[in-house]
Subunit: 112 residues, 2 copies
Amino acid sequence: MIKETSSNALNKAFLLKSCRINTALDTISGRWKALILIHISEETNRFSLLKSALGGISDQTLGKCLKELERDGLLWKEIIAEVPVRVDYHLSEKGKALLPILVSLSEWSDMK
Amino acid sequence: MIKETSSNALNKAFLLKSCRINTALDTISGRWKALILIHISEETNRFSLLKSALGGISDQTLGKCLKELERDGLLWKEIIAEVPVRVDYHLSEKGKALLPILVSLSEWSDMK
């Protein structure tokens, strides 16, 4: 049996933490995802509205980003039975919890 | 003269903020940079110590990461006149200010 030293435990805690940070960074990296989350939080929450707001994004890229953000649990789709069918995007609790961290990152980025 | 509407001003503030977030994400993204910063904050702050701590990183990649983190103002090098010359890495104020944000990201990543 390998003795669990406090140093081993610290290393495990460290590795777990750093792994989570990289997972978080992977989830929100890329040119558009943070912007999409901020827009949705400000009620710019339909495909066409997002496309107009994010000048220059292609349909394919926007669709891919939205799918990945939904898969990663940051947003959810509300399908509204109108003609034609309307889809609204909403931030999940996890998506909302990211917003203050994005604000901290933005302020940090401005530090000299 | 274009009239400055409050909506224009809001859009400008929004774009500036989102641009800063992407700059911040670019600065710390990648497999190693967040880990390197955490290690240096815990006094694992020489090239050889970092290389041992980050099992699997090549000399070239570690050197590149350290150069970029120095260029981006997150750490600074102390050159100690021993034989052979010793180089210690230290976090700058900006580097230190990032640590609590990385901890928040790690906790956030663990949310369901």
